[in-house]
């Protein structure tokens, strides 16, 4: 071995160490095994997951594909599919109109129903029907939503479970026969019957079952008026009042412009006498009432009179008037001596009524050459009506009575006391069958005892109703009835008009016509949809056709009658002679220092039958602007004395009845009067109306000394609880003295008096100055749309708002959203008070998008979603809107409404988002979704429709051819819409009127809505 090799071996033997530890062989540094145990084990494929990456991705994509296929687009409401077999008479895109009759109340207005693709979408008045002359109320407008109410009963129910009609028919007929044989009574309960044909069906039923009795009622009726009329004239045919001929009207506790009887026709006639082009002919309205009503808001003079004192008031008035009567009538001695005990001056002193105003009243009532009228409300006792009729005789007001259109009673209504007696009879076991035909006595007559117990003693209980109610929930059988839009029928409420009702849609559910059901049970025939239709035709042939002696063949006459919706009946005017047969008894009106409770009908919910209608619940009350609630009205003075503020709960005690309700401080209330509106607190209705408000029907009793609507000696006590009342008028309210009376300071409301206008027609223009602009005004060629609203005619009835809601698919948002100021109504009626809280002066103003030429909203939209059209409209492009809400911020009128939610499925857990309710939508108007701004569009769909018709007919648009929904609905014709570039248009003339003004015109936004200033017809000394 060489030395090199020896050296190399030596080198290999030398070891190296990194640290002392390694040099010392520290066990911690034992790094021989670099990997953890198991890391370097041999790879075992059998331990792998069976699913490979490839398979996993394949499964993932397949499931995603299935999910995508399974999920339907929530926006998808179906496909637009053309008809392969088009039904006759239906043209997609074009609407059909049918004449029919509304049955929302006892007036039974003539209506025209607009249908699209076989479904009704809008109800308006029938322009030719003399009962309402083309106008209907808010209830009639909104009643279309009830047709598509998802809570409608769809199938017959037996003890709560669904059954079929054949089972129901057979068992009920058998049970009825059994009851009849047993000798027990059969009771039928219904609302007022105005149909002569239905009456004949009832007569047939009574003939077959002699032990049967019909109870027909209306919670708010005109018994007292008819009784008072009958006492003096011997008949119950109260005439139509010609309010358009009355120069002076004294309204006593009567809301004849707001909710009583045919208030729509009354408003139309009253507005005719408030024409600014004939200021000399202006009527003067005095109102004497305890609670603030819509009529009171529109009165030129208003007295706060407790309803219990009205008898004293009218007797005092009679005493003064008879001394200077225009017609001398000799009163019987007893009445003479009674009347002579009363004095108007003493009344004025005792009750705190302004003597000067009472003198004005006397002076106006007696003015020669002027027609004066005293009109008492339905709620007042018959004695007041009797005296009022005498007053009208001595004032010669009888020339304002139109006897040709006098009221007709097809079936006399039962009294409240009859239902109390019925309750006793039911509980005694004398009744074998209880048949409820569309009414709700269990809810309305709560003083009749425990209805559940009463009905449990009756073998056969059944309800034929459209929706479940408090009465049907206590019945064994609940049978679905047709809605009136699915029904045949007729109606006669006045002597000169016979109206017809025809169905405009095939029945949506397995329901039947109420009259047809009874007819089938009575005659033994099988029910078909034609059964009642044929019966109605036969009845029409034997009565109306036979009496009118028309030269037409019956079939043609019948089709013509259906086309028109009514038949005119020849009647003759008559002169009635008063007869004093019964001595007058003064009703007992003893009062303590407590309150008089006044129970009234709600303007939109009625007696509760519209409680489940979201549009009506959300329509602000015309006086208080409260939505979704009822409350107790109290005067500001008494609220202050009792330390009460809005929303405080009080316990109301009347006799042995107690109820806790929230209060509302209402300016203009008489200090000793409190009032509550009925129709709320329903417990068995759809989700919309359930438990909304407070059920005050408990106070109604037939054991009254005065009338069923006023109760003396009622006390209230603060409970300490609180219930939030939502008022749309209080949105944006600022409690600052600098904004007190700002509607007058900013000239939002501009008013004058008739005398002022006659003396100086340009009085309104004096304070105005020319508004100049630094930019050149744009010239609009062709049409330029504008609107004018006459504040003299507008009564704030809110029919325009209801009509706009239906026409433009405005959603219901619910109480919580209204509280946040998010109600979606495109139009609102602002109400301003001035004067004192005790005797306020009320000014109303419809407010909607002003379609300003210099619109402040258009400039600030970042995406140009709102812009101005060439015909003057402020347009809204929904699919551009991204929801910045800058436009609403900039709008000085605050008329823009933002969809904070998709209200279709937000409200009441998507109550209106079902397969049926969307059928109510107008297909010509976009249904807006969340995040989009909307506002009044001047009914652009109607403008486009008129324009396309004109193009088809190769002509220009005619003057005043286009009507907006609000204009069409307004009973006073206060709203005028048209082309301001057309010299002949009504809106052009109104824009140039001396009384014309624009709201906030000093901002130079150039609004296209002109307001005609209100003229109060007060004495010149008061101006």
């Amino acid at each position: 071995m060489s030395e090199n090799n020896k050296n190399q071996n030596k080198k290999i033997e030398k070891s190296f160490w990194k640290s002392l530890e390694s040099y010392q062989n520290d066990s911690k540094l034992n790094l021989e095994n670099e990997f953890e145990e198991g890391v370097t084990d041999d790879f075992n494929p059998s331990q792998l997951n069976g699913i490979s990456r490839r398979k996993f991705l394949a499964l993932l994509s397949a499931s995603a594909a299935f999910t995508a296929a399974g999920c339907s687009d929530y926006h998808d409401q179906g496909e637009i599919v053309p008809y392969t077999n088009r039904p006759e008479g239906i043209l997609p895109g074009s609407s059909n109109y049918y004449a029919s009759t509304c049955n929302g109340c006892s007036v039974n207005c003539g209506i025209l129903i607009k249908t699209n693709l076989g479904r009704p979408i809008k109800i308006d008045g029938n322009t030719e029907n003399p009962i309402n002359n083309g106008k209907i109320c808010a209830k009639g407008q909104a009643s279309i939503l009830d047709l598509y109410d998802p809570s409608r009963i769809r199938k017959p129910l037996l003890n709560g479970r669904e059954t079929n009609w054949s089972e129901v028919d057979n068992s009920i007929i058998a049970e009825l026969n059994k009851v009849s044989e047993s000798g027990k009574k059969i009771v039928l309960v219904t609302h007022s019957v105005h149909s002569p044909t239905f009456k004949s069906v009832l007569d047939k039923f009574l003939e077959k079952y002699p032990a049967a009795e019909v109870y027909s009622y209306e919670l708010f009726n005109n018994h007292n008026r008819l009784d008072g009329w009958e006492r003096l004239y011997g008949n119950r045919n109260f005439p139509k009042i010609r309010f358009d001929k009355a120069d002076v009207i004294l309204s006593l506790e009567s809301d004849f412009l707001g909710k009583e009887d045919n208030f729509i026709e009354n408003t139309r006639l009253f507005a005719k006498k408030r024409d600014v082009n004939n200021p000399d002919e202006f009527s003067r309205l005095y109102s004497a009432e305890g609670s603030m009503s819509l009529t009171g808001m529109n009165a030129d003079y208003r007295f706060r009179v407790n309803p219990s004192n009205q008898i004293e008031f009218v007797l005092s008035l009679l005493n003064e008037l008879r001394k200077n009567a225009r017609v001398n009538i000799s009163l019987p001695d007893d009445l003479e001596s009674l009347v002579s005990n009363y004095s108007l001056s003493r009344f004025s002193e005792e009750k705190g009524i302004d003597q000067i105003k009472l003198n004005y009243l006397l002076e106006d009532l007696l003015k020669p050459g002027k027609n004066a009228l005293v009109y008492a409300g339905n709620a007042l006792p018959l004695e007041v009506h009797y005296v009022v009729n005498i007053i009208n005789e001595i004032l010669n007001s009888t020339n304002l009575y139109a006897h040709t259109s006098a009221a007709v009673e097809v079936l006399k209504l039962n009294r409240h006391s009859d239902f109390q007696a019925l309750g006793l009879e039911l509980s005694s076991g004398n009744v074998g069958a209880f048949i409820n035909l569309g009414s709700n006595p269990v809810y309305h007559f709560q003083d009749a005892g425990d209805w559940k117990q009463h009905l449990s003693k009756v073998a056969l209980t059944l309800s034929v109703v459209v929706n479940e109610n408090e009465t049907s929930e206590n019945c064994k059988y609940v049978l679905p009835a047709h809605h009136y839009l699915e029904s045949w029928g007729d109606s006669q409420t006045t002597a000169d008009v016979y109206s017809l009702r025809q169905p405009v849609i095939a029945p949506l559910y397995n329901s039947r016509q109420t009259e047809g059901i009874l007819l089938a049970w009575t005659t033994g025939q099988t029910y078909t949809e034609d059964l009642y239709h044929n019966y109605l035709m036969e009845n029409f042939k034997s009565s109306i056709f036979a009496e009118n002696k028309s030269p037409l063949a019956f079939k043609n006459y019948w089709l013509l009658a259906l086309h028109d919706g009514f038949v005119k009946i020849k009647t003759e005017d008559k002169t009635l002679t008063p007869e004093f047969t019964t001595p007058l008894q003064i009703p007992n009106s003893s009062k303590s220092n407590e309150f008089t409770l006044s129970l009234t009908e709600n303007y939109f919910i009625g007696d509760g039958r519209f409680a489940n209608n979201g549009w009506l619940q959300e329509l602000p009350h015309p006086v208080s602007k409260i939505t979704w609630d009822n409350y107790l009205n109290i005067s500001p003075k008494r609220a202050n004395d009792l330390n009460l503020k809005m929303g405080d709960m009080v316990e109301v005690t009347s006799g042995d009845k107690k109820l806790e309700v929230p209060i509302l401080v209402q300016p203009g209330m008489a200090d000793d009067v409190i009032s509550i509106e009925l129709g709320y607190g329903r417990t068995n209705t759809g989700e919309v109306g359930k438990n909304v408000g407070f059920n005050s029907n408990i106070f109604l009793t037939s054991n009254h000394t005065n009338t069923a609507y006023f109760y003396n000696n009622v006390s209230i006590k603060k409970t300490g609880n609180f219930h939030k009342l939502i008022s749309t008028q209080e949105h944006h309210a600022v409690d600052d003295s600098s904004v007190k009376d700002f509607h007058k300071i900013r000239n939002i409301i501009q008013e004058g008096t008739v005398d002022q206008y006659i003396n100086d027609p340009e009085f309104l223009q004096h304070h105005k100055h020319k508004i100049f602009s630094i930019t050149e005004e744009h010239k609009y060629e062709g049409n330029k749309w504008a609107m004018a609203i006459d504040m003299n005619k507008c009564t704030s009835c809110s029919v325009c708002v209801a009509s706009c809601n239906v026409e433009n698919n405005v959603p219901v948002v619910g109480k919580d959203q209204v509280e946040n100021g998010r109600e979606m109504q495109w139009m609102r009626l602002d109400r301003y008070y001035s004067g004192t809280p005790e005797d306020p002066e009320v000014s109303n103003q419809p407010m909607l998008c002003q379609h300003c030429d210099n619109a402040p909203c258009e400039n600030v939209c970042p995406v140009n979603a709102t812009n101005h059209s060439t015909d003057g409209l402020n347009q809204m492009v929904y699919n551009r809107c991204v929801g910045t809400r800058y436009c609403a911020n900039n709008c000085p009128y605050k008329v823009r409404r933002f969809n904070f939610f998709n209200f279709r499925d937000y409200f009441a857990d998507a109550y209106y988002d079902n397969e049926v309710t969307p059928l109510v939508n107008n297909p010509e108007v976009t249904v807006r979704s969340r995040g989009v701004m909307e506002k009044c569009s001047f009914c652009i769909q109607r403008i486009m429709e008129a324009r396309s018709t004109a193009i088809k007919e190769n002509r220009e648009l005619k003057t005043d051819e286009v009507t907006t929904a609000c204009q069409q609905a307004c009973p006073a014709d206060a709203i005028v819409f048209g082309d301001m570039n057309d010299e002949n248009s009504a809106v052009n003339k109104l824009r140039k009127h001396n009384l014309a003004y624009h709201v906030l015109e000093e901002t130079n936004v150039k609004p296209n809505v002109t307001y005609i200033a209100k003229l109060r017809n007060i004495h010149s000394e008061d101006a």
Binding site: E79, V81, Y98, A99, R119, P503, V504, A506
Partner: protein, 76 residues
Amino acid sequence: MLKMLNKDRVTALLVIDKFGGQMNKTSRRKFFKKITFGGLGLALLSKSPLKAFTSDKKNKRLKKVFIHPNSVKRTK
């Protein structure tokens, strides 16, 4: 053959070989066949526009909201 490859490649091929028994046996041809038929199946499951033109099923719903045969509409 395996002996000729270095250790790393042997490890990889061993994995493939051992895993081979569990490899997806679907060939490319079969794969495309599956895609095609699966797609057709999905199309049948979803709302086919063809259906609407073959019957008045949609109109059956519309037919429910239909004018009453005896009602008389207004002429303009």
